[in-house]
Symmetry: C2
Subunit: 216 residues, 2 copies
Amino acid sequence: MSEGSVSDKTVARLSLYRRLLSDLLNQGIRNVYSHQLASAAGVTAAQVRRDMMAVGYSGTPVRGYSVPDLIESIGNLLDSAQAQSAALAGLGNLGRAITAYFAGRRPKLAIVAAFDNDPYKVGRVINEVECFHINDLGPIVEQRNIRVAILTVPASEAQQVADMLVRAGVKGVLNFAPVRLRVPPDVYVENMDMAVCLEKVAFFARQGRTTAEAPS
Amino acid sequence: MSEGSVSDKTVARLSLYRRLLSDLLNQGIRNVYSHQLASAAGVTAAQVRRDMMAVGYSGTPVRGYSVPDLIESIGNLLDSAQAQSAALAGLGNLGRAITAYFAGRRPKLAIVAAFDNDPYKVGRVINEVECFHINDLGPIVEQRNIRVAILTVPASEAQQVADMLVRAGVKGVLNFAPVRLRVPPDVYVENMDMAVCLEKVAFFARQGRTTAEAPS
DNA sequence: ACAACATCGTTACAGATTTCACAATATCGA
DNA sequence: TCGATATTGTGAAATCTGTAACGATGTTGT
């Protein structure tokens, strides 16, 4: 809580740190140094310590950070107090891959409803997610107070579905369609643009540009 | 060609501009102003003009940029002279979604081979892409001079497959596995981390942070 | 008890990226 | 032909982001 101004990049790195810390915890490791976490995340130790300032968690010299405590502190910043629910629109291959990906992962942020226009999918449960007809999107999203959505519909329908989501109260969209969505200024959109990313990779592979970069 | 130092972000935006310009061309529009392209891309006009400096293409006052000429100029920078080929490892839902996504899109950068360990898929052609067994990855990637790869295997196998790709000469990887790959410094890795991105969206949706941001 | 040491938190710095502002200029209409 | 005008290209300022450096501090071994 508190800080209203945590940067984009910092939030992304914190999310990554948390996942890495969970892995460490599963291995029974209960303490970690900034340089270890940094090396696992592909950033510098100074970066990790700087990010910790945003979290407000302090480690101790010599002993480093307590893994479980740090996981909890990052959770206090990243997670909402009550669980957040997400909707997914578009159950093609990509949509199904994503529901499988997130099934049972984070209880605080789960996909609870999926929408498609294929009547064959409606009424089924795919990867633990109920599937509804896209026409029922508005009422269901409103009823369940869903504020986060994942958009995996074809490009030609993306704007239209985004409009439905926004009208139903969604405030954040993870957009996989290769389209720039027009949304009101209070809606946050994150574009996962595979075509752009692949061209980036191809370009830098050719150039021999070294090293990768921050998450997202 | 020429410029060895075009930034990450600029390359991503140029790729986006090119796609938007192609859409404009399909609509029969042959001239565009920086502020129009900017608004379509979700950036400022100054940003567009600055990116054009990297491309080396000049528009003309009053008339703006010629859409076809600009597409060609961006292509001169982003595309390699000869076509580049890409490989895809992991034909689960995500892998199939991606092959469908790129099928027949950019002749200069096509997925020409896919790999999986499921014998049922081997020998088939999925979305115009030949499918091979993962054990044959090395020889085939080498033979076909493939330098770009898309990694859509489960997290537990990602590092191992990445090692195979690198050993076969791959210099750029688009990684969808929620794992930080260890690769030699001359290999470029771009991470598409869905879990991180979704948490980012959930966080900023809650915060009411305004506006979206650059591609990738 | 205490000295040696490796690590943390933080401030100051450096570099990268974006925005601003304005001179230069090509086109259009009279 | 020539003035009016909207746009471009680019140097300079501002902002954002990451890095380095260093005093403070908790732990360990003697």
